[in-house]
């Protein structure tokens, strides 16, 4: 099947997290579906910007045609990307932006992601009350982008107060312990905003028989399932498709084929699926996909950008495998 002509390098710096696993699978599936890729060269491990620079330089040594990268930091890998461009390699950053001007960017709009969910939540709360703000990993750039969006929404609702701000570190167990500790304090809250560690929060509310409050999460299969099934749960899932990886591969191939997009930057706007209205409920129902691993986002494809089938992404096989 490896009839394609290109070798594409991939660099990713978070391993063992459902979202990133889906991203990698989307890249593989898209490379396979496009028929244009002979080989994928994937550097996928837990590391920092310096480690990603190492991976990028190794990919340059391997003489790939394009590099699709989910940057550990927008500015931190600038020099590596610059070297890649100089070596004639097409560079596409997915998920987050990079500062290197020669790179193409296709990303989820993290600020908008947070803004959209927070705004919906504050409206649900009637524009007032206390919100539990469960962030991601302290010091991560995606987290600080989302914080900007959240703060922007917060500024629009002066009567909404942050009851407690915690960092879950994007870890399920930590988040669960934090929510249980918080519930034990008996502090009344009117809503919970999570940075994608969502289903354990709903679980905790159910287990503790705590009053249900609106919860905002991401479009992870587990949480979307809960929006359908958990009694009294009002909530919203904001899409943050891991399949952006597949879109990145598509963009890289377009550029290699000489079909450059008009702009360096393409933003995939998030959507919000809520179960507060009947219309929304129907949407959530169709979105739900209990067959997926609960940590995988259900939006496994992006219209216009990915061409693989569900079976292909779930099989998670790239060209030549």
């Amino acid at each position: 099947s490896a009839a394609g002509k290109y070798t594409i390098g991939i660099s990713n710096t978070v391993q063992g997290n459902g979202w990133r696993e889906e991203m990698i699978c989307a890249m593989k599936a898209q490379a396979l579906a496009s028929g244009e890729v002979a080989k994928l060269n994937i550097a996928h491990r837990n590391t920092d910007a310096a480690g990603q620079l190492e991976d990028i330089r190794n990919l340059i040594s391997a003489k790939v045609d394009a590099i699709v990268v989910n940057p550990a930091d927008p500015a931190g890998i600038k020099s590596g990307l610059e070297e890649a461009t100089k070596a004639g390699i097409v560079v596409v950053a997915v998920d987050q932006a990079v500062t290197e001007p020669s790179a193409y960017i296709i990303s989820n709009n993290q600020e908008q992601y947070a803004y959209l969910g927070a705004k919906w939540l504050f409206q649900q709360m009637g524009g007032k009350g206390e919100v539990l703000y469960m962030r991601g990993a302290a010091g991560a750039s995606a987290d600080s982008d989302r914080d900007k969006g959240f703060k922007q929404a917060l500024a629009e609702f002066p009567d909404v107060k942050v009851a407690q701000e915690v960092f879950t570190g994007w870890q399920q167990d930590q988040a669960k312990q934090q929510i249980l500790s918080f519930l034990a304090t008996g502090t009344p809250i009117n809503g919970i905003w999570t940075s994608g560690i969502d289903n354990v929060i709903v679980d905790a509310l159910v287990e503790q028989q705590a009053p249900m409050v609106p919860v905002v999460g991401a479009d992870n299969a587990g949480f979307v399932g809960q929006l359908n099934t958990v009694k009294d749960l009002v909530g919203a899932a904001v899409t943050n498709p891991g399949s952006i990886g597949g879109a990145g591969v598509t963009l890289a191939l377009q550029i290699l084929d000489g079909k450059k997009p008009a702009q360096q930057t393409v933003l995939v706007e998030p959507q919000l699926w809520e179960n507060a209205t009947d219309e929304g409920k129907a949407k959530v129902k169709t979105a739900a996909d209990p067959s997926l691993s609960p940590e995988w986002p259900v939006s496994i494809s992006i219209p216009d950008w990915t061409t693989y089938t569900k079976d292909q992404i779930v099989a998670c096989k790239g060209p030549g495998e």
Binding site: D48, N58, S61, D73
Partner: protein, 328 residues
């Protein structure tokens, strides 16, 4: 000769392994050249400083869980100080950050000496403290680095007296590494202070009874570790141009390279050269795995297996190599 082999055999073996890996790399990618070697050295830089920091305290019989956090703190400090500042300001920032590493390292040592809490707990605690401090300095990756600093690790350095073709094979980063580590380490190792570090790691009681100022030596070892960690932090800022408050994977890597490098956890044995070569080996393995385009999940398996296999092999030859009738 036999003693040389007993003392240095491990390092020599590692060096042979490294050369073997270079040959393998050339076979995989015939175009692998001086530029790629430069990339390798740049990748090695932060790991090398981290492992140097770890080595010093391990030789002194301790362990430093705070190396990576110390690197993060010094890195964000440097990056935020240089952010928007003039190029010359960096001349002040570098010594400031190094002094900061030295003082914070000494503080680690002081806490261990004063509280008498085991090293592993004290440095675990300071891991959190330093990480917290890094987050207070910068709550997300950011900052900047002076251009001249960034230039110190880019490109090569002609060494006078060597034939021209070698120039391309002497990356500036390598010169920086050698100068920073061995200029400090080599004279120290032969000095009484250096011997004291080995002594307290080998047998603290015997060292005390030999008149070694144990507490002072321990504090010094941690201070030196802090200095190396600060160099590591600086090298992160220099290579990425930013500072990141979340530490990279340098802690476990440093411990692994220390053991791979023939330094006994528990103290008293080994040197700096072995662990540094071990770092090169580990980085080059990563390069080869990328060049071979191996499935990333399998690379994890391979990296783990190589680590275990090398140490297992080492243990095996030491067991076999022991002459039949020799007693300790």
């Amino acid at each position: 000769m036999t003693r040389f082999l007993r003392n240095q055999g491990w390092v020599a073996g590692l060096l042979a392994l490294l050369i073997f890996l270079f040959v393998v790399t050339r076979l995989i990618q015939p175009g692998y050249g001086s530029g790629d070697f430069g990339s390798l050295v740049r990748a090695v830089l932060p790991y090398a400083f981290a492992v140097a920091a770890q080595t010093v305290v391990v030789i002194a019989g301790g362990i430093d869980l705070s190396v990576a956090a110390m690197m993060a703190l010094t890195s964000v400090t440097a990056a935020s100080m240089m952010n928007g500042a003039s190029e010359e300001y960096a001349f002040f920032v570098v010594p400031f950050v190094l002094a900061m590493g030295l003082v914070l390292g000494a503080l680690n040592g002081l806490l261990i000496v004063v509280t008498r809490v085991p090293d592993i707990v004290v440095t675990l605690a300071t891991l959190f403290v330093l990480q917290g401090a890094a987050l207070l300095v910068l709550d997300a990756p950011g900052g900047a680095a002076a251009e001249w600093l960034k230039a110190t690790v880019v490109g090569t350095m002609p060494i006078p007296g060597l034939p021209d073709w070698t120039d391309a094979w002497v990356p500036k980063a390598l010169v920086l590494l050698v100068v920073c580590l061995f200029v400090v380490w080599l004279p120290l190792r032969r000095s009484r202070l250096g011997l004291s570090i080995y002594a307290i790691g080998s047998n603290e009681l015997a060292a005390f009874r030999s008149g070694v100022p144990v507490a002072r030596t321990r504090i010094f070892a941690y201070a030196l570790s802090g200095l190396f960690a600060a160099l590591g932090g600086l090298s992160l800022t220099i290579s990425t141009g930013i500072g990141a408050p979340i530490p990279g994977p340098y802690l476990l890597a440093s411990v692994a390279a220390v053991v791979l490098g023939g330094v006994a956890l528990g103290g008293g044995k080994g040197g700096l050269l072995g662990p540094i070569i071990a770092v090169f080996v580990l980085r080059l393995v990563r390069t080869d795995l990328t060049l071979l385009a191996i499935d990333p999940n399998v690379t994890t398996i391979i990296e783990g297996a190589i680590m275990v296999a090398v140490v297992m092999f080492g243990a095996f030859i030491t067991i076999r190599g022991r002459p039949a009738g020799a007693t300790p």
